[in-house]
């Protein structure tokens, strides 16, 4: 039997097909307005004719009734998934679309502590998304847009206030690139302060959609003064973690 891990995030729904050792297949679909439909779609695409044991995670984890065999929170899944992708890490920083979290792991990759941001968009991927939209830029082009630019100081943490701060900066004829770099600087600074509360040494794994950006990863590493690792599949961390937990469950 194969294991299907599905991570229902607020922006995208991710799925992986896992044989206990390797990821055989994966898919990312837009969550849209129905996390349930998005999960069903991921399930359909990956399951095909295979006999699968399904583990769901993410905020929609309890929606796949009848098809899901187990649901686990995204905190635990991110910890497990990150240790699978990068063995030996001591913590995970995940900046998601709806929240951001820091997870501290012990030597055996068990979760020993975690912290999540509070209930607003400040410090989340959504913050950067909204700001990039204000600057009329695609978030996928962020690296080429900001690389090597000097950051401008963005002091507002609230997404709505930061947006009006950006509008004022644009009105002062400041460069959009420097403003964007300022936004990245501010979110990384905030994440680093938040992460330091958990007191860990060693290397940190960075997951979530923003980890695709090399610039964001390096700014984060600078702010933390610690090594920050990513993986080409880091956006799949939660789904992989779900699959790893499923594999342990059925194979022991």
């Amino acid at each position: 039997m194969l294991i299907l891990g599905i991570d229902s995030g607020s922006t995208t729904t991710k799925g992986v097909l896992f044989d206990g050792k390797n990821v055989l297949d994966s898919v990312i679909v837009s969550t849209g307005s129905s996390p349930k439909e998005a999960m069903k779609e991921v399930y359909r695409i990956l399951k095909k004719d295979n006999d699968v044991y399904t583990v769901t995670t993410g905020y929609g984890r309890n929606l796949l009734e009848g098809l899901s065999d187990k649901s686990v929170t995204e905190i635990t899944c991110h910890g497990k998934g990150a240790s699978y992708l990068c063995p030996g890490i001591s913590a995970v920083i995940d900046i998601g679309g709806q929240d951001s979290k820091v997870i501290k792991l012990d030597r055996d990759s068990n979760i020993v502590d975690f912290a999540m941001n509070d209930k607003c968009a400040a410090g989340t991927g959504r913050f950067i998304e909204v700001m990039m939209r204000t600057l009329k830029q695609e978030i996928s082009n962020i690296d080429s847009f900001i690389e090597g630019k000097n950051p401008l100081k963005i002091s507002s943490m609230c997404t709505v206030f930061a947006e009006s701060e950006i509008v004022s900066l644009l009105a002062k004829d400041e460069k959009a690139e420097s403003i964007a770099m300022g936004i990245v600087d501010s979110i990384c600074e905030r994440t680093a302060i938040f992460a330091r509360k958990l007191n860990f040494d060693g290397s940190i794994f960075f997951s979530g959609g923003l980890s695709k950006s090399k610039v964001i990863t390096s700014v984060l590493s600078e702010k933390l003064m610690q090594e920050v690792l990513t993986h080409e599949n880091s956006q799949l961390t939660g789904a992989i973690g779900a699959a790893v937990i499923g594999s342990k469950k059925i194979r022991g």
């Binding site: 905020y59 686990v72 929170t73 995204e74 905190i75 635990t76 929240d99 068990n110 979760i111 020993v112 502590d113 975690f114 999540m116 509070d118 209930k119």
Partner: protein, 350 residues
Amino acid sequence: MVGNVCTNMHPKLPLAMGAAVVSLCATSDETIGEAEKDLPRNLCPLIKSSYGFGKTDKCPYFYFSDIVVGETTCDGKKKMYEYMGEYKDVHVMQLPNTQIGQDSFNLWKNEIIKLKDILEEKFDTKITEEHIKSAINLKNRERTALKNFYALGKLDPPAITGGDILKVLYGSTFKFDREQSIKEVEALTQKITEEYNEGKVLERKPRILITGCPIGGVTEKVVKAIEDNGANVVFFENCMGAKAIEDLVSEEKEDVYEALAEKYLSIGCSCMTPNDNRIKMLDRAIDEYKVDGVVDVILQACHTYAIETLNIKRFVNGSKDIPYMSIETDYSTSDIGQLNTRMAAFVEMI
């Protein structure tokens, strides 16, 4: 009828003169909008809600209270009383900031005597030491009954859910016929014990202790989030729980005012600095209730409890070597999704 807004208050004095005492610590967001006309938005919901209930007369207990007795506990409350005094008869007792030293003790003892004088004048009655002694005895019996009830939480596997323990503790603050209330609680404890001995037990799950700000009413959502996600709450250290109930007032002490001052100055309240008594109670409860994890509930903008989280975390993770999590919440239901995720992950961690 006398309303109080804190566990430091002395229900015994009003009880001694035959008055009814009711807790006015509000736990609903119904009147917060009204309160925010006068108070800042970024203030603890308990203070806003209590003030709002007083102002709107939506709470019959508040409405029928002849006097509200408060203390200078946190800054938010003591400043709020100034405004509450505009529409209600309010007496504020000057609580010292520290439990250490004779000066604090004397201040608090004198404040208790002052409260007695004020109540005597207000209700045109006489409160004798004999009255106080019998009120102490009554309150001690009530405490013992409640203590024996929540001690059911020691049972492993559990006999009742944390949600049910909280309902009884919270409900007891609205009972007026204390003798009747004691009998009810005793009967309930006995019934549950008998059923337990006959084999009616709950499933064994990770055992959680809740500490921090007062909970009850809408903040039961935290208990629900823990128990819906695979754990049992076995002990409440909060104001509504053991904090005010665990220790009795001495009935041996010659001076009744000293006996009262001693008891109330030993409550592990975060308004006290330092607050070693909270750690002492946690230390004992974690062992006696075989606790697997501690959840510290902080109401939004409650500075004293929020700052104390670090101290509690160090103690729970360090000396007791079990997981700890603090969560900040308010009286709305908007964070139920986040609460569920946090609590489920916390339980998965144990």
